[in-house]
Structures are given as structure tokens and as C-alpha cells.
């Protein structure tokens, strides 16, 4: 599958942080069945940090790799830092995504953002970087 970078292949073949967190502090879902990729992110927060991040993904190789990468990048970060993980940052970190895969598969960052939002809403927090565009317009790479 040459249109995927080695990094994508690695995260697809060996996805990190797969699963559900039963007593998650926040849950976020993203995706749509027409495009075909759907992701659920679970977060556990301690001292404003993402103590644990897990995900479940229905979707293509890129979607799975993106989710894995996002979970890895997010883990241990503060909420504010985690909100800075954008689709383009993820794509870059993965060594690029095929052009036509960018929009649909690259929803991991949004799913994570939704999970953080879920947490913030429950806690009544106002977080910097959470307002504004829910869907960053993904740039082509």
C-alpha cells in the first residue's frame, strides 16, 4: 500500500491505545457513515492532563492510524495542549496522508476535541482553543 507512509502503516498495523475507557471523563464521536470513517475517543483527565486516551475506530487504514497517532500525541498533554492537535499537525506527524484520504480519515483530532469538550461541559470549564470552529477546515497536503 504505497500511498501510505511507513508511519501510517506502523500505526495501522500496531495501533496504540485501542479500546474503551469504561469510566471515561469525556467521550467524543466523529465521522459519518457515507464517508465511512467513524471514531470514538475516550479520555481520562487528572490535574488538567490527559492521563489516559483510548479510541475505537470504524474505518480505513488511515482512519485507524490517525486515531492511534492522535491518542499517542494527546496522552500526557494538558487539555489546552491537546486542543492544539489539529488534523494538519496529525497528518504531518504521520508523514503525510494521501490527498483524497485527508478529509474523511483525518477526523481523529476532532473526535479528541469532542471528548475534551464533553469533559469541559460536564465540569463547566471554559477552555482556550475550544471555542470557534469545531471543524477545522482540513487543508490539503
Amino acid at each position: 500500500m504505497p500511498m501510505y507512509s511507513d508511519k501510517v502503516m506502523d500505526h495501522f498495523m500496531n495501533p496504540r491505545n485501542v479500546g474503551e475507557i469504561k469510566d471515561a471523563d469525556g467521550v467524543g464521536e466523529e465521522g459519518n457513515p457515507v464517508c465511512g470513517d467513524m471514531m470514538t475517543f475516550y479520555i481520562k483527565v487528572k490535574d488538567n492532563r490527559l492521563e489516559d486516551v483510548k479510541f475505537q475506530t470504524f474505518g480505513c487504514g488511515a482512519a485507524i492510524a490517525v486515531s492511534s497517532m492522535v491518542s499517542e500525541m494527546a496522552k500526557g498533554k494538558t487539555l489546552e495542549e491537546a486542543l492544539k492537535i489539529t488534523p494538519s499537525v496529525v497528518a504531518e506527524e504521520l508523514g503525510g496522508l494521501p490527498k483524497n484520504k485527508y478529509h474523511c480519515s483525518n477526523l481523529g483530532a476532532q473526535a479528541l476535541r469532542r471528548a475534551i469538550k464533553d469533559y469541559a461541559t460536564k465540569k463547566g470549564l471554559k477552555l482556550e482553543g475550544l471555542e470557534g470552529e469545531e471543524h477545522e477546515e482540513a487543508e490539503e497536503n
Binding site: M1, F12, M13, P15, V18, E20, E29, P33, V34, C35, G36, D37, M38, M39, T40, Q56, T57, F58, G59, C60, G61, A62, A63, I64, N100, K101, H103, C104, S105
Partner: protein, 396 residues
């Protein structure tokens, strides 16, 4: 990828060229390299090769040689048929009928015709992917010039009742084209028995080379060429003939005709084993297409709760080559229009998986797939939120 066993089960995507076919082609790259239009020894020999192939290809569909127009691909044959025949009959009308599960080279050709004033009616299919001849009859109008319904669908394997459809089309006074790219060479196809006016076929579907395909066109049917140029193919398809590929197509046609029934029998047995094996080894799998009226080498499924490309990648990692009609495997990121037209929900269509056997397929290959697929499905389901939800809903 690792260097494991390699199992190709994607023969509907394309077939290898048989050694006998390649052998027949080889002289035409070297000694017999002439241009068939040339008026000398070299041209003459090249022309003889092309004309022999024309006879062989015609024989495969029970046509006559002069009715064969060689093209470069099934896509070109379909474009030539749909656009060429429709535009050839504008004096009569500007309405055409196609089915919802046609290959894009028919479906999009019809859409292009709309831009020049044609009207297109798309007839539906049932859950098996079958077109109802009555539905076709109902949609033919006075100004209908062409109906194009494919013979066999390469994504779900379903074989249409072409003779019945051709009958109602003929009675209604329209012309009938069938895209038989997926069927010719794999099952018996007889243009006289089918009663069609035009039929597309492609060599790389029956162990002939890429770059050679044909439109069989009943004598007397008016056709506007897609391309302008020289006098090749009676002016209906100009451009220097791809002599080696055409010769290879002829040889492949000859072999396919001769070995048709024994090939199909073998395929059917392997295919049936594969279907039974997968359905029993994996839960929540649907066989797509018609259970009986299907191509003998064709087994297509939807595996629920997971997505096709991810399965393809993991199967590929085990050396297994198949295809999928999932959105993620298409460049346009749309789930197969065929599966959707058959009423399969997008979510389920995402799990499309398509196996096709071939002359080199062995029982061991089938065993290997039946062994390797279940853990892959399990692995992806373990990641899948849809599967988790399903388990919860079932459990609770």
C-alpha cells in the same frame, strides 16, 4: 510486506496473460511488427494476425468477424457503444435507459449524453442486483433509442436475464447494448441467443492482455465513432491497431471458448468452498449478489461492523489479494453504487469484500483464506465502535 504465501483472488480486477497467449503475441513485437495498414509484406502479415484474431473473438460470442470492432479497453467499448449508438440514432429520439448498477463507463457515458440533450432513465435493481425486464419495458418510450444493461456485474457477480430484457427492448423498437466485460470468457455468451445489438468484452477478463477489448456490433447498426482519424476498424475506431494485444485477445478467446466449461466447473467448486467456508467461519457476514445467478468465479460479501480497506490491508499483509467496494477503497470515497442500489446500507457496504478465483487458484489458497480471514475480522472488530455498540445492544 512480508514474504508469506501469495494468494491472488482478484481475477475480476484483471487476469494474468496465459503463456500460450503471450507466445502467440511475441512475434508481433519483433518480426511481424508491421502496421496492418501498410501495403507490403510486413503490413500484410500484421493484418493477417489481426484478422485471424477478429475471427477468434467473434467466435467466442458467436458473432461474425466483420461485427467486431477492436478497442483499447472495456471502458472504450462501452463509451463507443453508449455514445456512438445513441448519437447514431438521434433522428429517432434522445432517450436512453440504463440500470443503476452499470459500470461507470456506461453510467457516466449516459450522464455525458444528458449534457447534449439526451434524457436518461436509470432502472433499479432488486436486493440481488437483478434488473426486472418488466421494469425496463415500462420505461421504454417512443423516443428511446438505446437500452444498456450489463450482462454480469463484477462487484456482486449477478448475471442479468439479458435474453428476456433484450426481447422487451426489441419489441419496443429500441436498440440494446450489454456490457459483457465481466462475463465473456467466463460463461457462455452468445449474441444471437441473447438477441442483443451490441456487446462489450475485454481480453484482460479472460487471460488475454490489457489493451485489447472489443465491441461486437450487429451489422447495420449505425454508430458515430468516438474518435476521428484513419480508416482502421472500418473508420469506426481509428488509430494504429495494437496488433500484439489484438492477436493475444484472439488466442485468449480461442482458449476460453475451448476450455469454458471445465474452467467454470473448477471455479464454481472453489468458489462454493470459499463461500461456505467464510460464511461458517465469520459471523455477521452477508453474501452479496444473487446466490445462484452469479459468475462462477465470484464470491462477494459484506462483513459487518468493519471497513473494507482495512481488511484489504491486513489480508495483503498475509499475501492475500482481493478487492472491496467500500468508500475508502474508491478514489472518489463513495461506497459502491452497486451495493447502494441493491439497498445495502452505507455502513454495511463499507464492509464490502470481493473474492474472485482463477485458473491458478488451488484448494490450498481457499483454505489459507478461510484460515486467515477470521482473525483479521476479529482484530478490526475489536477496534470498531460499531461492533462495540452492537455487542452492547445485543448484550443488554
Amino acid at each position: 510486506m512480508s514474504t508469506k504465501r501469495k494468494v491472488y483472488l482478484d481475477y475480476v480486477a484483471t487476469t494474468p496473460v496465459l503463456p500460450e497467449v503471450l507466445e502467440a503475441m511475441l512475434p508481433y513485437f519483433g518480426d511481424v511488427f508491421g502496421n496492418p495498414q501498410s501495403l507490403h509484406f510486413w503490413g500484410e502479415r500484421a493484418r493477417e494476425g489481426v484478422e485471424e484474431a477478429r475471427g477468434q473473438v467473434a467466435a467466442l460470442v458467436n458473432g461474425v468477424a466483420e461485427e467486431i470492432i477492436f478497442t483499447s479497453s472495456g471502458t472504450e467499448a462501452n463509451n463507443l457503444a453508449v455514445k456512438g449508438i445513441a448519437q447514431g440514432q438521434v433522428a429517432k429520439g434522445k432517450h436512453i435507459v440504463v440500470s443503476a448498477i452499470e459500470h461507470f463507463s456506461v453510467l457516466h457515458a449516459a450522464r455525458t449524453l444528458e449534457k447534449s440533450g439526451f434524457e436518461v432513465t436509470v432502472v433499479p435493481v432488486d436486493n440481488y442486483g437483478l434488473v426486472d425486464p418488466d421494469e425496463v419495458a415500462k420505461n421504454i418510450r417512443k423516443d428511446t433509442v438505446l437500452v444498456s444493461i450489463m450482462h454480469a456485474n463484477s462487484e456482486v457477480g449477478t448475471i442479468q436475464p439479458i435474453a428476456e430484457i433484450a426481447k422487451v427492448v426489441k419489441e419496443a423498437g429500441a436498440l440494446f447494448h450489454t456490457d459483457a466485460v465481466a462475463s465473456v470468457g467466463n460463461i457462455p455468451v452468445d449474441v444471437r441467443q441473447l438477441g442483443v445489438d451490441a456487446l462489450s468484452l475485454a481480453a484482460n477478463q479472460f487471460y488475454g492482455p490489457k489493451g485489447a477489448a472489443a465491441l461486437w456490433l450487429r451489422k447495420g447498426v449505425r454508430l458515430i465513432p468516438l474518435m476521428d482519424g484513419g480508416v482502421q476498424e472500418g473508420g469506426r475506431r481509428p488509430g494504429t491497431e495494437n496488433v500484439p494485444a489484438i492477436v493475444g485477445m484472439g488466442k485468449a478467446a480461442e482458449l476460453a471458448l475451448k476450455e469454458m466449461s471445465q474452467r467454470a466447473e473448477k471455479q464454481r467448486r472453489l468458489r462454493d468452498r470459499l463461500i461456505a467456508g467464510i460464511l461458517s467461519a465469520v459471523e455477521h457476514v452477508i453474501l452479496t449478489g444473487h446466490p445462484e445467478r452469479r459468475l462462477p468465479h465470484h464470491a462477494s460479501f459484506c462483513v459487518q461492523f468493519i471497513e473494507g480497506e482495512a481488511m484489504l490491508m491486513l489480508l495483503n499483509n498475509e499475501g492475500i489479494a482481493v478487492s472491496s467496494g467500500s468508500a475508502c477503497t474508491s478514489r472518489a470515497l463513495k461506497a459502491s453504487h452497486v451495493l447502494i442500489a441493491m439497498g445495502i446500507p452505507h455502513e454495511v457496504a463499507q464492509g464490502s469484500l470481493l473474492f474472485s478465483t482463477g485458473l491458478d487458484t488451488t484448494d490450498q489458497d481457499i483454505d489459507y483464506v478461510i484460515e486467515k480471514l477470521p482473525p483479521i475480522v476479529t482484530r478490526l472488530r475489536q477496534i470498531s465502535p460499531l461492533y462495540a455498540r452492537f455487542l452492547k445492544e445485543r448484550g443488554g
